[in-house]
């Protein structure tokens, strides 16, 4: 052992997470030990992972071979720049979530804390392994461990019927996706052309696939990783599983696990496959746009705060996929400069989303703990009781709405810039369709603002809709620390885009051969000008400082020149004395314009009160079209096929043996060389 490479450190970190998890089993019911010792330790390891990944960025790829696994099938591991970017994301976000989790898990909630600790750290370690895996075998093992551990985490409260159902759905779709990935690897090993393929990624890179098989591999990867990431129509597990899981787990799944799917997609389409075809990009672009629009529209009409965020995650994954599609199109036409721009937008949005979405999910966790209420219709006015959570959530909300000066805006800005400079594509149709796609991206971003105002305004602002909310309390110190950490990430990603991009540029350079670093270095660190300062520039720090300075200056001036007197009184009630908290807009009411304008997009069941009702009530239930279009028919068909198969089932062993015998006979007859 000459020197301790970053990859060795990451492996040690993975092992450390496993050990921490196992330590949880020593005293599974000792909440004090687990939450105040083990989770903070896990967070520390997370920070370590992030720092090491940051250090490894820009360096040469490092490989390692682990002797574990099957005989003659060792695990190949590799830490390159792409892995490092995602490991960075994993480490830093996991640190925040772990600190928060130290204050979150309490006695007597569902699974024993020790078991929970094991599952959680196993989940972290398997995600790290996914990023490091350098052969199909190790990747699939890590991928499946990730799916399983997260399944157990989702079903923490397994006593509830609907949570078990959500967990089942999640596992089902995770496996459909896994089949897609497995087949994709199968195609890429080159087994098609005869001769046993090499299952390691290095072998796949060396393969020269025909366009047909390369396309098949890409589409399988898109379907397989899309199922994990939540692309339509394989998104249905996401809005079920995220609300079911405890908040730190939702945060981890939404913030980090979805990104591993993005990592996989990038790995396959840019690293393992070489001959990019332009229509791959169009497919990804269209699916991404559909996902983004679908996600954001549904997120605006949700009444459960965690479901709202889950749909918003679908939207963000959609935007990332749009970026991947754009990168593929540019890459296929050898416009590498623009491809680098779009790729940077993809990576940046991955980082940004990991930060702000984890932050928002953790905030819902605090609200949930303080009020035991998930439904927006029963919340309100929590900024008075939980100022810390409210103000930190505001950072997440602004970033999620894609507004300056926080992180969400930077990636959206980069994405739009790459759209904007797309003319010049040698394909007239693409030339015209791409700007319209940009318009849809903007619509999605603006709708995300609507959803976020609804989320924040209904939970934290207004009057308390239920009397019980008066007893709500602010988050504890651990939780506050976790939230503040993630808010800090969101802020830093927002105001220091150039610095961050210069670090993650190594990954872009690795995948595309060119990056943005040269252009960025021409200007100062405070300025983001990916092409040139005359063409487009953005200085978030100046924006932030100006607004903050104006705020303080104007406040000082007004107080100095005039006065600072304040009187408190009741709000104006329009002369109508019965205006209580119930007169506020409900969560349903807030989204009414969306339901009305985009009516065909929703499947709604509404009940309107009439003048003659004894007990008038209004209700609206919005359902996912995809259930009725895709899933229920499939389920019905499966049921129908099963009833046919039932007739084969006689119960007598002799008959079963005969089936086997006949099958064997037929095979021997048919399958001849």
């Amino acid at each position: 052992m000459t020197n301790f490479l970053p990859i060795d450190f990451l492996l040690t970190a993975g092992c450390a997470w496993l050990v921490i998890g196992l330590l949880g089993l020593v005293a599974p019911r000792n909440t004090q030990l687990i939450s105040k010792m083990l989770f903070p330790l896990g967070a520390l390891v997370g920070v370590g992972v992030g720092l090491v990944a940051l250090d490894a960025l820009g360096g040469p790829a490092q490989t390692a071979v682990l002797a574990i696994g099957l005989p003659d099938l060792p695990f190949h591991l590799r830490l390159d720049n792409l892995s490092a970017v995602f490991a960075l994301l994993l480490g830093f976000v996991a640190a925040g979530i772990s600190i928060y989790a130290a204050g979150y898990f309490r006695k007597g909630e569902g699974t024993a804390p020790g078991l929970m600790c094991l599952q959680y750290h196993f989940f972290l370690a398997s995600m790290l392994m996914v990023l490091l895996a350098d052969d199909a075998y190790a990747f699939m093992v890590a991928w499946e461990s990730m799916a399983l551990s997260s399944f157990f985490l989702v079903t923490t409260d397994h006593k509830h019927e609907e949570i078990r159902r959500a967990g089942y759905l999640y596992l089902l779709i995770a496996h459909i996706g896994a089949i897609g990935i497995l087949l994709c690897f199968g195609v890429m090993t080159g087994g098609m052309g005869g001769g046993g393929g090499d299952y390691s990624f290095a072998g796949m890179r060396a393969q020269d696939l025909s366009p047909f098989w390369a396309s098949a591999a890409f589409l399988l990867a898109l379907a397989g990783f899309g199922a994990k990431a939540g692309l339509v129509p394989l998104h249905v597990w996401l809005p079920e599983a995220h609300p079911a899981a405890p908040s730190p787990v939702s945060a981890m799944m939404s913030g980090v696990m979805l990104k591993t799917a993005i990592y996989g997609l990038l790995r396959v389409s840019f690293d393992l496959l070489h001959s990019t075809l332009w229509w791959w990009g169009v497919v990804a672009l269209v699916i991404g746009l559909a996902t983004a629009l679908f996600g954001v529209l549904y997120s605006t009409v949700q009444n459960d705060m965690k479901r709202l965020l889950a749909y918003s995650s679908i939207e963000n994954i959609g935007l990332i996929t749009v970026g991947i599609g754009l990168t593929l199109v540019f890459h296929a036409y050898r416009m590498e400069g623009l491809a680098a721009l779009a790729m940077t937008a993809v990576l940046y949005h991955g980082l940004a989303h990991a930060g702000f979405k984890s932050l928002l999910f953790l905030c819902t966790g605090s609200v949930l703990h303080a009020t035991r209420e998930r439904s927006l219709g029963k919340l309100g006015g929590l900024i008075h009781r939980m100022p810390w959570v409210a103000w930190l959530a505001l950072a997440g909300v602004i970033a999620s709405a894609g507004l300056p000066p926080l992180s969400g805006f930077v990636s959206e800005w980069l994405l739009l810039q790459s759209f904007l400079f797309s003319p010049g594509l040698p394909h007239p149709w693409l030339n015209m369709v791409v700007p319209v796609a940009a318009a849809l991206v903007v619509l999605v971003a603006a709708l995300a603002g609507f959803a976020m105002v609804k989320f924040y305004g209904i939970i934290f602002l207004g009057q308390m809709r239920e009397p019980a909310l008066k007893d709500a309390h602010d988050a504890g110190p651990w939780e506050k620390a976790g939230l503040a950490w993630l808010a800090l990430i969101t802020l830093l990603l927002g105001v220091l885009p150039s610095t961050v991009i210069l670090r993650i540029d190594a990954a872009t350079r690795q995948l595309l051969g060119t990056g943005l670093a040269d252009k960025l270095n021409e200007n100062g660190w405070w300025m983001l000008a990916p092409i040139s300062a005359e063409r487009a520039s953005y200085e978030p720090l100046i924006v932030l400082v100006t607004i903050a300075a104006m705020l303080l200056l104007v406040r000082w001036l007004v107080r100095h020149l005039y006065h600072g007197r304040v009187r408190r009184t009741t709000a104006w009630d329009c002369g109508y004395h019965f205006e209580g908290p119930r007169a506020q807009d409900t969560a349903e009411g807030f989204s009414q314009p969306i339901r009305r304008i985009f009516e065909p997009m929703f499947r709604m069941e509404r009940h309107f009160p009439t003048a003659r009702d004894v007990k008038p009530y209004y209700s609206v239930k919005v359902e996912d079209h995809f259930w009725h279009w895709c899933y229920l028919p499939v389920a019905r068909a499966a049921g129908w096929v099963s009833t046919l198969i039932v007739t084969l089932q006689g119960g007598r062993i002799a008959v079963y043996l005969m089936y086997s015998f006949i099958t064997l006979l037929l095979l021997l007859l048919v399958a001849r060389p």
Partner: protein, 222 residues
């Protein structure tokens, strides 16, 4: 870079764009009298485009066709249509079969199709304004769309006339106008067509007490 095309061609492009804009405005317009006015404006823009082409190329017959457009499409036909609306006492609102935003969305898609379809054709043309061919095609398609999505017979006539505007623009931009005989023939056709349709309107109304074309469905054999 754009300075390389001559000013007159730029002017023609501008008028072509205005014609397209008006075609869209007609698609979005709910009121019948305004619709007819928009049609008259479209005729005006067409007339100006033809006039510019005439001045540039010095072809005499283009002056004639500009004059013809002015007389027929800006003055005579709108006047006839307005009179028809008054005499038939049609309600001012245009009823659309599909709601207007959706129609506009379809319209945008049609424009994209038209522009792309026209690209290879316009490569064949040698005139400086061949870019407007795509616009002309788009106007034709939008007029078609209007005829499909509207219920009143009069709007269908306006759609028909607007389509003719598109064709005329195509002719002017691609080949600097058709031979005079063809042009005169078309003009007469359109005029006679509108007059005959006007007569039909009265018949339709007498029969059904309405100008809603859905009533025509009753005419089929059962």
């Amino acid at each position: 870079m754009s300075a390389s095309i001559p000013f007159s061609a730029q002017l023609i492009n501008l008028f072509a764009a205005v014609i397209l804009l008006l075609a869209f405005a007609m698609l979005a317009q709910r009121r019948l009298p305004q619709l007819i006015n928009l049609f008259a404006l479209q005729g005006g823009a067409l007339c100006l485009a033809t006039l510019v082409a005439a001045v540039t190329t010095g072809q005499v017959h283009l002056y004639y066709s500009a004059g013809l457009t002015l007389a027929l499409k800006v003055l005579l036909l709108p006047w006839i249509l307005h009179r028809l609306v008054r005499q038939l006492k049609v309600k001012g609102e245009v009823e659309a079969l599909i709601n207007i935003p959706t129609t506009m969305l379809v319209g945008i898609v049609l424009v994209m199709v038209a522009f792309n379809v026209a690209l290879p054709i316009s490569e064949l043309s040698h005139t400086i304004t061949r870019g407007t061919l795509g616009i002309a095609l788009a106007v034709v398609m939008l007029a078609f769309l209007m005829m499909i999505t509207r219920q009143k017979a009069i709007t269908q006539v306006v759609g028909f006339l607007s389509m003719e505007n598109g064709l005329f623009l195509a002719a002017t931009s691609a080949t600097y106008g058709m031979p005079m005989v063809v042009e005169l023939g078309i003009a007469l056709d359109v005029l006679v067509g509108v007059i005959i349709l006007g007569v039909f309107f009265f018949q339709i109304r007498d029969q059904f007490d309405s100008l809603d074309i859905r009533h025509m469905e009753k005419l089929k054999d059962n």
